[in-house]
């Protein structure tokens, strides 16, 4: 009986928290924009292709058209509808970015938390490796990997991308852990000598969830631009609809940058990327404030 009432009680509390959370979300303008944007892109990637059929048949006469009802974002150098290409490209772009972010978070958290928590030699060695990774310029490495690996699916690409982004995260996570370690509840947990694993998974990580989520979004942004770089280097199997490829074709191959008529074709993928960046940025900083009320106070 008593138990039950207790249950109900903390259910109520939960509900209350949730409602506050939501009201906070609705409060923050950037947050709203962020959510709208992200949702927009998700829809684009999921149901978009169904709504806007893709026709890659070239139509040279109608190349570089300016936006119209027929072509929402005009047409490319081969007279194909830019908008529908964007839509069909979005899925892979999003997936790649998501996977890349996921993997780098994974490695980052793993290495970071181990190093930060166990300290001592483990820490020193791991951190040396991390530093080493950070000292290796990522661009030429990408060039090399472009020549070495033959990846095709978003997962693989994500993995390759993450290989050179996890290091920074590991560092940050470690720093977080170190600061958390000094907190009472961790001290207590250690005194009660719970297993490291338990402490990391049940005490530390939950307390860094906000940080992790925010960084997940951050690294997703990074991954997006990076994946475009990869397409530029030709590491990803060619797809006409990949935003990176579109941009690349626009700027470098077909010299659209010099063709006033074609400017739309160049701006389309760029705009999409910018929008995504802006949205996620808003979302990230919004969430940050949400999780860290201190920031809210001096709004």
């Amino acid at each position: 009986m008593k138990k039950n009432s207790l249950k109900i009680k903390d259910k109520i509390i939960k509900l209350k928290r949730k409602s506050i959370f939501i009201s906070l979300v609705l409060e923050d303008k950037r947050m709203q924009i962020g959510i709208i944007v992200v949702v927009f892109f998700i829809l684009m990637a999921t149901i978009g292709p169904a709504i806007f059929p893709l026709d890659l048949r070239s139509d040279y006469a109608n190349r570089y058209q300016t936006p119209s009802f027929k072509h929402l974002l005009g047409t490319d150098f081969a007279g194909r509808d830019t908008w529908s290409m964007l839509v069909h490209g979005s899925r892979d772009v999003m997936l790649t970015a998501a996977f890349a972010a996921m993997f780098s978070m994974l490695f980052g958290i793993l290495v970071g938390s181990i190093a930060g928590f166990s300290g001592g030699w483990t820490d020193i060695i791991l951190m040396r490796i991390v530093d080493a990774m950070l000292t290796i310029p990522s661009f030429p490495v990408m060039m090399i990997m472009a020549a070495t690996f033959k990846v095709s699916n978003p997962v693989g690409i994500g993995l390759v991308l993450s290989l050179w982004t996890w290091a920074g995260l590991a560092r940050a996570i470690r720093a977080q852990i170190l600061s958390l370690k000094t907190r009472e509840f961790i001290q207590v947990a250690r005194m009660l000598n719970f297993s490291k694993f338990y402490i990391i998974t049940h005490e530390l990580l939950p307390n860094m969830m906000s940080y992790i989520i925010v960084n997940f979004i951050r690294s997703m942004r990074g991954a997006l631009t990076a994946s475009i770089g990869l397409m530029y280097l030709g590491i990803i199997p060619y797809t006409a609809t990949n935003w990176g490829m579109m941009l690349n074709l626009a700027v470098f191959q077909t010299g659209t940058i010099y063709v006033p008529r074609g400017i739309w074709y160049m701006l389309a993928p760029m705009g999409a990327i910018i929008l995504f960046q802006y949205g996620t940025l808003g979302l990230a900083s919004g969430l940050e404030e949400l999780f860290n009320p201190r920031l809210r106070e001096n709004e």
Binding site: I20, S23, L24, E27, E297, N298, E299
Partner: protein, 330 residues
């Protein structure tokens, strides 16, 4: 009685915008801070003491705003001054020692430089040497060694030293009014009393007007001439220390005094007040203390008591039944 240089707080009302709605954290508060005297502002934490301080200095957090009221100083309402005028008047006229003063020092600057800034930004026509002299003098005033302290960074000082440094800083421009917000919390008892005596003789030496905000009535009693008691955003009683301690009319004040442990005397006769302070978002309709008041009658629950002067020298109280109660309370 004359009170030119003192502070007059008139019908001050401060609200906070919060998710749950409007939080009235100071409700129509009026009291005087008399020149050269020490006025104590007492109340449980969260009752709006600090808000009053922030309101006086007009440095409320961005989601708080002054609904109504005036703060009269030297005949003009300082809340209506232009930001620049306000800035000029701060520290020169009213200085503040903040709650948890340890944190009110900039960790990356030497004490000296932090002091120096104050002079620089309030265009005191003082030469460098004069300024240095002033700093040292103030540091000495708080019984610190200027030769050393000035050249140190905050993290190199102990809590007590920081506190004193902050007090010294507040005196740099010889302000008319000094507001002390919980000046001694987070310090050990010895330091506490030390700081208190320090403040006392500062008050006597410079006969500086002081508003001392604290939750610890016994502590304040040591140097206050007059005490203002707050409960749930309202002022419920004002009076001299004597009045408050030996002749208080409000059940809450009484309870507060009884509940405070005094170093002397037998701890067994402590009677803490039952219950919790009410929420300020939707406070009780009648007397805000009524839910906790053991003498509450139905009028207390319905009608909102106003602060009215009783008898002599400004002793004021807001209670419906103070007359009946005074007999058996004291």
């Amino acid at each position: 009685m004359e009170n030119k240089k003192g502070l007059k707080i008139k019908e001050l009302t401060v609200d906070y915008k919060v998710k749950e709605g409007n939080l009235r954290s100071v409700c129509d508060a009026s009291f005087d801070v008399e020149e050269a005297k020490v006025t104590g502002l007492i109340g449980e934490s969260g009752c709006g003491k600090t808000t009053i301080v922030q309101a006086i200095l007009d440095i409320l957090p961005s989601n708080g705003y002054i609904e109504s009221g005036r703060v009269i100083y030297k005949g003009k309402n300082i809340l209506e001054l232009s930001p620049e005028e306000q800035r000029k008047c701060r520290w020169k006229e009213l200085a503040t020692v903040f709650q948890a003063a340890q944190n009110s020092l900039n960790p990356v600057m030497k004490i000296k430089d932090q002091f120096y800034d104050v002079f620089e930004d309030h265009d005191t026509k003082l030469s460098h040497r004069q300024i240095m002299k002033k700093m040292e003098e103030k540091i000495r005033l708080v019984k610190l060694d200027p030769g050393r302290v000035l050249h140190l960074f905050p993290h190199q000082l102990s809590g007590g030293m920081k506190q004193r440094a902050v007090i010294a800083m507040s005196l740099l421009l010889e302000p008319e009014v000094l507001i002390l917000d919980e000046p001694t919390t987070a310090l050990d008892l010895i330091t506490q009393s030390y700081i208190m005596t320090l403040l006392k003789d500062i008050n006597e030496k410079l006969n500086i007007t002081m508003l001392m905000v604290s939750h610890d009535i016994s502590n304040v009693a040591k140097l206050a001439d007059k005490i203002v008691v707050m409960y749930a955003a309202q002022i419920i009683e004002i009076g001299t220390v004597e009045d408050i301690f030996y002749n208080s009319f409000h059940p809450y004040t009484k309870g507060l005094i009884d509940s405070t442990p005094s170093i002397v005397g037998d701890p067994s006769n402590k009677k803490p007040i039952a219950g919790d302070p009410p929420s300020l978002i939707n406070p009780p309709s009648g007397c805000r203390f009524s839910p906790r008041c053991k003498y509450a009658k139905d009028i207390c629950f319905k009608v909102f008591p106003v602060l009215k002067e009783v008898e002599n020298n400004f002793h004021a109280v807001s209670c419906h039944r103070w007359q009946e109660l005074r007999e058996f309370m004291n």
